[in-house]
Amino acid sequence: MACHGAEGRATPEGYYPRIAGKPPGYLFNELVNFRVGRRHFPMMSYMVDRQTDAFLRELAEYFGNLRLPYATRDTSHVAAALLERGRTLVTKGDAGLRVPACKSCHGESLLGVLPAVPGLLGLSPDYVIGQLGAWRNHTRRAREPDCMASIASRLRSEDLAALGWWLASQHVPADAAPAPDFEAKPPISCGSFDE
């Protein structure tokens, strides 16, 4: 909470990601990824290194089940074309780049799908851009098949900012929660769909 905001509700203004309301399975997977070195952030690895899975799962459940209001980021200074590109990628994808729509896996409301696909809203653009960049550089990984590594590598550089800013601009209703299941079969297979 020192970094991720009161009760984990960091806003899109900073860098540290919001954790409140993300699917618990996702939060647990990431805690483990920090421990085994698939993600690199020394402060996180240091925190989880010598904790049991049972405790990490408990932490993930606690933060994942919080339902707290979201903030949006003012994007009036961002070029309309860039935001439009972000919207297109999120809702339709880019067939030419073989990039599926974000919505097809992260849920119609973009708040994730239980148990382990993360929500994409309420995050700072810097964080989203940073994570996509980390996937392209292979410094952020997930269990194989690492679908996000493939998708991030196909994006054009300017798409990262387009996604980060459009996602941060989205208003989230107060009762927002991750979807219980995929609405249709996801277009890609991911090792991190489950815990």
Partner: protein, 424 residues
């Protein structure tokens, strides 16, 4: 004639050096370990597993996310970076072709199978006290680990530490092989504890001070040691981590769970507890506690404080920072909110002469290990991103001099030196 004399003198010198380097004093290779009060296992492999756990081999010989015992963990020292080798039974890259004699030679004498002397980062300076029979059991257990094909990485050492002759000289100066010799003046429990603390569990590898050549200065050296980026407090000083006044049961509680009412194991000690000590039979911890208690505590007669913080502006600023960031958990009176937040008033971890650990805990947070006895440990959040070096120095200076604490000031440079990241 003169040249010939000089040459002869040089030859004698070289010979003397060689004799000094290679002919050591008498070694003790025989003898049984003081027996544990409960069986560590019915088979050699079971006993070996328990002994390998006590010796804490796995965490050093395992890289983050890597296969158990397959090596590759980097250990940063003032002499360079050491990479732990693969000790799985893989014949090409591990120790699959090692005989039991080879393994003993490494543990007891500090030599690799190919005859190369090993660096004391591998604590054979302690393991030499292990009995031949225990070493055999450890060997049997290590044979059962899944073999992993992973070449060991060469150490990256600075000159002259990368020279074999330097290592040989070091060994000759500071290493005496010898199995633990029981002290008949003490009980079998105490002797078992001494065997574990000085040998298998290699506590002194961290808790005793090292000289500039990386050798432990003396037996029961009271100074504590700066290792793995942390300060391992002295077990022979009651104002550091000496256990002379702790009840045995409290020592066992700390070693088994990582927490007592007013102390928590953090940093490298959290790793030792998580990986090793929490899995050790209670009777073995009892024995260690009995021995640890008996280590003589250094006299407190000398003044401990060299520079009492007296600058009122620093203290006022530190007090304000404390009120904003610390008081909610640790209390305005520094008495903490047990069990969540430890008391800072009278807390040795806060007031000991070295400021390294308090600085690191404020920077990177403090996380006791999750153990069976303390499965949901309370942690302290990191402040590296929220407070500047000056602010951390001021708040620690305040904490070290408030509520009856009488320790020296912390400088912004002390904080800066530790901004290298939380890991070791």
């Amino acid at each position: 004639m003169r040249t010939r004399l000089a040459l002869a003198a040089l030859a004698v010198l070289v010979l003397a050096l060689l004799v000094f380097l290679f002919v050591g004093p008498k070694d003790r290779t025989e003898g049984e370990a003081p027996p544990p009060s409960v069986s560590l296992g019915a088979t050699a492999i079971e006993r070996g597993r328990a002994l390998v756990t006590l010796a804490d081999c796995r965490p050093c010989h395992t890289a983050r996310g890597g296969a158990d015992f397959a090596g590759g963990r980097a250990i940063t020292t003032p002499f360079g970076i050491f990479y732990s080798p693969n000790i799985t039974p893989d014949p090409q890259t591990g120790i699959g072709t090692w005989t039991s004699d080879d393994f003993w030679h490494a543990l007891h004498n500090g030599y690799s199978r190919d005859g190369r002397p090993l660096y004391p980062t591998f604590p054979y300076t302690n393991y030499t006290k292990i009995s031949r029979r225990d070493a055999q059991d450890m060997y049997e257990y290590l044979r059962t680990i899944a073999p992993v094909r992973k070449p060991s990485r060469e150490h990256e050492l600075r000159f002259p530490y990368d020279r074999t002759v330097a290592l040989m000289l070091w060994r000759r100066l500071f290493f005496r092989p010898g199995v633990y010799q029981p002290d008949p003046a003490h009980s079998s429990k105490w002797n078992r504890g001494a065997y574990l603390v000085e040998g298998l569990a290699h506590c002194s590898a961290c808790h005793e001070a090292r000289n500039s050549l990386g050798a432990i200065r003396s037996e029961r050296n009271p100074a504590g040691g700066l290792v793995l980026n942390w300060y391992a407090p002295s077990l022979a000083r009651s104002h550091e981590a000496g256990l002379q006044t702790w009840p045995e049961q409290q020592i066992v509680e700390f070693l088994a769970t990582g927490r007592t009412a007013d102390a928590a194991g953090m940093g490298p000690m959290a790793e030792v507890i998580y990986e090793s000590l929490q899995h050790v039979p209670p009777s073995e911890l009892d024995a260690m506690a009995a021995y640890l208690k008996s280590i003589p505590g250094a006299s407190e007669a000398r003044p401990l404080v060299t520079s009492r913080a007296t600058d009122p502006a620093v203290l006022a600023s530190g007090r304000e920072i404390y009120g904003k960031n610390c008081a909610r958990c640790h209390g305005d009176d520094g008495r903490g909110k047990p069990p969540a937040a430890l008391a800072l008033a009278g807390n040795r971890a806060v007031t000991m002469p070295s400021v390294t650990n308090p600085v690191r805990i404020v920077l990177y947070g403090g996380y006791p290990p999750g153990t069976a006895g303390n499965p949901r440990p309370f942690g302290m959040p990191p402040f590296a991103d929220r407070l500047t070096n000056v602010e951390i120095a001021e708040v620690l200076t305040y904490v070290r001099s408030a509520w009856g604490n009488r320790a020296g000031a912390v400088s912004a440079n002390d904080v800066l030196r530790n901004r290298t990241g939380p890991e070791w």
